[in-house]
């Protein structure tokens, strides 16, 4: 059992009191039900929540979303906000895959339309979207073009004809963060990133063709263009590839060396950080913007090839097939946001590592068309079960700086999953359940099996009950491509 001290606040909130360990500046707050907490008690992730509470300038609490699991330094599912004057920025609080996120498309097609051509569709998607370790994109970028990608994000892709202008209106930050400085991005990050634009990558990244399975809030999903069960949607999950990994790496080293200079001492080296006001902090923020923009361009390009793949298989234009974007959210990012602390509006740096922004109706930071319903919160599950759409709530602003869960959360390590499923033909088993899967490697597939993940329905239930997000629809997978 974990030694972490816990106080129950209500049905879905647990506090790690500030006096649990020396150095904590705020308490930890974990969103979980009794069952989840039973499992969490033996997970080092709770200790990580307490460690994050030691960051200089952190306000209110170190939060953990219901899909919390063990990460490197920060837990996955962690949210931490720091003040501009005394606070720090931590690359580990964003993660290696800067702006890893999810993009969702809706179509006018139904289950009946796509089912007979599912194999062909999955094959076509797999052929059109480079996938797997070391996958190289179909684009050949010059150094100047890479600079443009890092400054313009998804806008760059739209300018190249890789997508529709309307996609930007329904992308967090309209697909671009300002303040990037390409001169701060190392040659190494550029070398890793340039060939990888327009690739899905490996690990838990995937692209999924889905059918709407259950609608909980018909009026809300109607605003997203979802009208009936059986309607086909597409989910894309990936990030900034080697470019983001290298930028995180570069700045972890910078900040690890700068700890002494700023008199910062933390319980875990991976939490390395620098004051937001310092040169190191500002340089990281400008580099993070470059990686985040690269990731938005990446998902934009992949979405374009999804449309092209549907056109090839169904022999109709994507416009006729009604393939429109619902939303694109980042779930590994740090952003400057205004939040209320003790009745005072403050500018804060909100780190979300494996957490999705969940902003309420009428927030000026969400698309106009969603003003009445709130920001779509896209929560993928595992490839055998289901995924969810939620919308942001006013309560989340007070509970978690407007943040919710980002997925199911692992319950088994990759190695454990491989060992337990040794000898299984997962692709065949999934096909029997009605899911067509194409993966680069059989082993990679075993690592990402349903049994390796918590049930996302339970995670979503807790997030919904706790007020972090309103659950509005559930989708089930029909076809999946993986690295």
């Amino acid at each position: 059992m974990s030694k972490v001290k816990l106080n129950r606040l209500d049905d879905y909130r647990w506090e790690i009191p500030q006096d649990y360990k020396p150095g904590m500046r705020v308490p930890g707050i974990v969103f979980a039900d009794d069952d989840m907490m039973e499992t969490l008690k033996t997970d080092p992730a709770l200790e990580q929540v307490a460690n994050v509470a030691c960051l200089p300038g952190i306000v209110k609490a170190s939060y953990a979303m219901p899909d919390i699991h063990w990460g490197y330094g920060f837990p996955i599912g962690g949210v931490a906000a720091t003040t501009m004057d005394e606070g720090v920025i931590s690359p580990g609080g964003v993660g290696f895959d800067i702006n890893c996120g999810v993009r969702m498309l809706r179509t006018d097609m139904t289950l009946g339309d796509v089912k007979p051509k599912m194999d062909k569709l999955v094959e076509t998607l797999f052929a059109n979207i480079p996938t797997g370790v070391g996958a190289k994109g179909r684009l050949r970028l010059s150094s100047d073009e890479l600079d443009e990608v890092m400054m313009k994000g998804a806008r760059w892709a739209i300018g190249k004809g890789l997508g529709d202008k309307d996609d930007l209106a329904v992308t967090e930050e309209h697909g671009v963060i300002t303040g990037g400085d390409v001169s701060l991005v190392s040659d190494r990050a550029r070398a890793r990133g340039a060939p990888q634009l327009g690739t899905l990558g490996s690990g838990n990244h995937f692209l999924e063709v889905q059918a709407v399975d259950e609608i909980y809030e018909p009026a809300i999903v109607a605003a997203m263009g979802i009208t009936e069960p059986g309607q086909v949607t597409v989910l894309i999950h990936c990030g900034s590839r080697g470019l983001g990994h290298q930028i995180c790496d570069d700045y972890l080293k910078v900040m690890d060396s700068a700890q002494k200079k700023y008199g910062i001492s933390l319980p875990d080296r991976q939490l390395a950080c620098a004051p937001l006001s310092s040169q190191e902090g500002q340089d990281y923020l400008a580099s993070l913007a470059c990686a985040a923009n690269f990731a938005w361009a990446n998902r934009q390009i992949i979405a374009h090839w999804v449309r092209k793949s549907f056109e090839a298989v169904f022999e109709k234009s994507w416009g006729t097939l009604g393939i429109r974007q619902i939303y694109d959210v980042a779930h590994n990012i740090a952003k400057m946001e205004m939040h209320e602390i003790d009745g005072k509006r403050m500018k804060l740096c909100v780190h979300r590592k494996g957490a999705t922004r969940s902003f309420p109706p009428h927030s000026r930071f969400i698309p106009e068309r969603y003003a009445e319903i709130g920001q779509p919160v896209l929560v993928p599950g595992d490839m055998g079960r289901y995924s969810f759409i939620g919308v942001g709530t006013p309560e989340a602003m007070g509970l978690s700086f407007g943040s919710a869960c980002h997925g199911a959360g692992r319950q088994q390590s990759r190695g454990q999953s491989k060992r337990e499923l040794k000898g299984h033909d997962l692709a065949k088993e999934l096909r029997e359940q009605g899911v067509v899967v194409k993966a680069m490697t059989r082993v990679g597939l075993l690592e990402e099996a349903s049994s390796a993940y918590k049930d996302v329905a339970k995670v979503m239930r807790v997030a919904h009950k706790a007020g972090l997000v309103k659950r509005v629809a559930r989708m089930r997978p029909l076809g999946v491509i993986k690295g």
């Binding site: 797997g132 070391g134 690990g203 990994h245 790496d249 972890l252 080293k253 875990d268 991976q270 082993v443």
Partner: protein, 117 residues
């Protein structure tokens, strides 16, 4: 300490592929620097992650010439990854500082380092 660094690199490539399939067809000189020995181990392994991700290079022989507290220099042998000959088990994002530790025991040095895959 030289053996520790060589073994750590070998362990890294054993996570990526079957190291027995990697031929010593080309050699490279690798150097890395960091603020202390633990961070040096991270920097050393990140050299290989970079070469694998950007140039698809795999290595199986690590001739570590010198390791101080802050610098390492080695000549390493390997080849370009070929999907037909090298079964790629996983990609690597980075070596992390999380729970990083090098300790000295009766039988030599021992390191704990966690990779983000």
């Amino acid at each position: 300490m030289r053996e520790l660094f060589a073994n750590a690199a070998r362990a890294l490539f054993s996570i990526v592929t079957d190291v027995k399939t990697i031929r010593a067809a080309e050699k490279r000189t690798i150097t890395a620097e960091a603020v202390d020995r633990e961070a040096l181990l991270v920097a050393w392994l990140n050299e290989f992650i970079f070469l694998f991700d950007s140039e698809q290079r795999l290595f199986s022989r690590f001739d570590v010439r010198a390791v101080s507290k802050t610098k390492v220099r080695a000549v390493v042998y390997g080849e370009r990854a070929e999907p037909s000959r090298h079964p790629i088990k996983t990609g690597l994002k980075s070596a992390t500082y999380h729970q990083l530790k090098i300790t000295k025991g009766p039988k030599g040095y021992r390191a704990r380092l966690i990779l983000d895959v």
